[in-house]
Symmetry: C2
Subunit: 356 residues, 2 copies
């Protein structure tokens, strides 16, 4: 099958399994009380609202790609990856004060709105954030639960759990840099790549590595998947930043001014600061991180990013990362299945061309 059909096919299976996981959770919650039914239903709605499932499908593809044969068990384990991802999204959205995710309210806003309707409205954002701290915590342990109980040998599972946990650690550590740097004028391109390698790269790398581990992949397979995934993840994030600011809100499901207002040091911004005139630089630094910046200033920042050539620079950069990523996975293509080769090389191209 070509890449798009492989992705469709397994996306569908991952979503089915996610529904099964939440069905079981909601049954248990029913015994505990109505509060929990609402709570887990809100978590389910958040997870099921969208998402491309690139990470759990990479997990499945790596397992199959290294010769793993227990297809049912790996698909059943795949929600663990997506739940870890969503756990970090919920916490990130609190931290970044984002209100929109995948075209709907972020998780803390779901509960902010609920509280506002039910009570006077006093402290409603604090209540929403409290529920979302716990919601993120719960999704991580739910993902861990699925992995812990998966149908693989105990030794493999312990190794898988350790990578899973280490992935979560690195995501948190990357997030720390991300928020620290919102208050720094100058971040270098190298620092940017260090940060996204942790914040975004960890899970794109961890997902196939956990699959590879459960499929008893060889050290060489592990190494190639690791190198491939890091490059692909970097291309993904560079492109994600572009879409975040220059994409269509209807397609990306989030407002295109949020990164600028939050002061995110994206590669586009780093290059624009580097390549802009003294006057433009002043406008950039004044607007970045100013949550109340007028719409016109935000548009001006976008114009500077375009005119300085920063936008072209990062688009080329993304492409220059995706190509060697494909190179890594093709290096010894005979040690992976043809389906996996098709998927992973297709994925590296997909991340460049996607619109959402």
């Amino acid at each position: 099958l070509p890449f798009a059909e492989i992705l469709d096919k397994y996306q569908y299976r991952v979503n089915q399994e996610l529904e099964n996981v939440f069905r079981a959770i909601l049954e248990d919650a029913g015994k505990l009380g109505g509060v929990y039914v609402d709570y887990y239903r809100n978590l389910r709605d958040f997870v099921m609202r969208g998402g491309k499932r690139l990470r759990p499908v990479s997990f499945i593809m790596a397992y199959k790609g290294v010769g793993g044969k227990d297809y049912e068990s790996i698909i059943k384990a795949s929600p663990s990856i997506e739940l870890l991802h969503n756990s970090t999204l919920i916490h990130d959205d609190i931290i970044d004060e984002d209100h929109i995710r995948r075209g709907g309210p972020t998780f803390h806003i779901v509960y902010t709105d609920w509280f506002e309707q039910k009570f006077s409205g006093r402290d409603s954002i604090r209540f929403g954030e409290a529920m979302a701290i716990l919601g993120g915590d719960n999704l991580f342990e739910l993902g861990l639960s699925i992995l812990t109980k998966a149908n693989f040998s105990s030794n493999f599972l312990l190794q898988a759990i350790d990578i899973y946990r280490e992935t979560y650690k690195k995501i948190c550590e990357g997030q720390i840099l991300d928020i620290l740097w919102e208050n720094r004028a100058e971040v270098t391109e190298e620092e940017y790549f260090d940060m996204i390698s942790m914040k975004t790269g960890s899970l794109f790398v961890g997902s196939p590595l956990i699959g590879c581990t459960l499929g008893n992949g060889s050290p060489r397979q592990f190494e190639l998947l690791k190198k491939y995934s890091l490059l692909m993840a970097q291309a993904f994030q560079v492109q994600d930043d572009v879409l975040g600011t220059f994409g269509l809100e209807e397609e990306t499901g989030k407002p295109t001014d949020s990164d600028i207002r939050q002061g995110k040091r994206t590669l586009m911004v780093i290059k624009a600061i580097e390549m802009s005139s003294a006057q433009d630089k002043k406008i950039l630094l004044k607007t970045l991180g100013n949550k109340k910046a007028p719409r016109d200033d935000v548009e001006h920042v976008k114009k500077i990013i375009r005119q300085t050539g920063a936008l072209d620079y990062v688009k080329e950069k993304a492409s220059n990362l995706a190509k060697p990523a494909i190179g890594e996975i093709l290096k010894e293509s005979e040690i992976f299945t043809a389906e996996a080769i098709e998927f992973f090389s297709g994925l590296a191209e997909f991340v460049l061309n996607r619109k959402l």
Copy 2:
């Protein structure tokens, strides 16, 4: 050894192991960069600032109590329990907006203060809370890391990890009730016990059960430890509420007006509402949950709790829980070691008489 000496001895060992864990983490952090050294040092300082280590010592005692023989390995694994505990404390302190814990600033206040000194002070509390969301996340995965790598058979470890995770789940679920009920006038005694059984009981129950599992305890040992721990934990929490409001701040390390201002539905408060005159009830409901309540009103609430007999009621209740707890562990005392019997029966008495 008598209880106090057993506790001292293993408290010391747990603290030593915690120091070892953080020493290794800080070494790794040094390779990543100064930001992480500061971050993990702040986490270490938070964890090492105090705490009675009742939970990790219960974990060790249950292991030894059911006949586990690998003392070094169980002690080495014990920080996992304390780190899970601290992870939930950090998130709770954000949620409850508490500023003081164990006589020092809560973790989000550590970073709020840091930010205020370093930058203009704009958004410093948001920054502190962001770092503390991540700090709590990191402590949980650090605890998980220790358990995953512990020196026990893979099968036992997977079972232990599953209890560890389920414990975390229940703590979060208990916390949800706790915050939801801050906005409800009437909470029943039964509901209170349901809530604290999850929020506080889970870890007091989970800690010995994980130890019992790693020590290959019998189903009967597991069952008795479970029954004992739940009763003991309930006594602990009832008494903890009393200390929180009527203890000495120098001893408990936290302000005695915080539960009242936060509107916590403690058993004392539930009984006071139930047993008070219409006029006093109005004062109670007006003051509870009012973060800006004047000092005099808070003192008035304390007076009502005393005068209605609510305080005496809950003190007796705590004692009436601790006694059957001891009964459970003595029921078949011959299936545990003498040291474990001494520790667990001593612990149930200790929770009643403690001042901090």
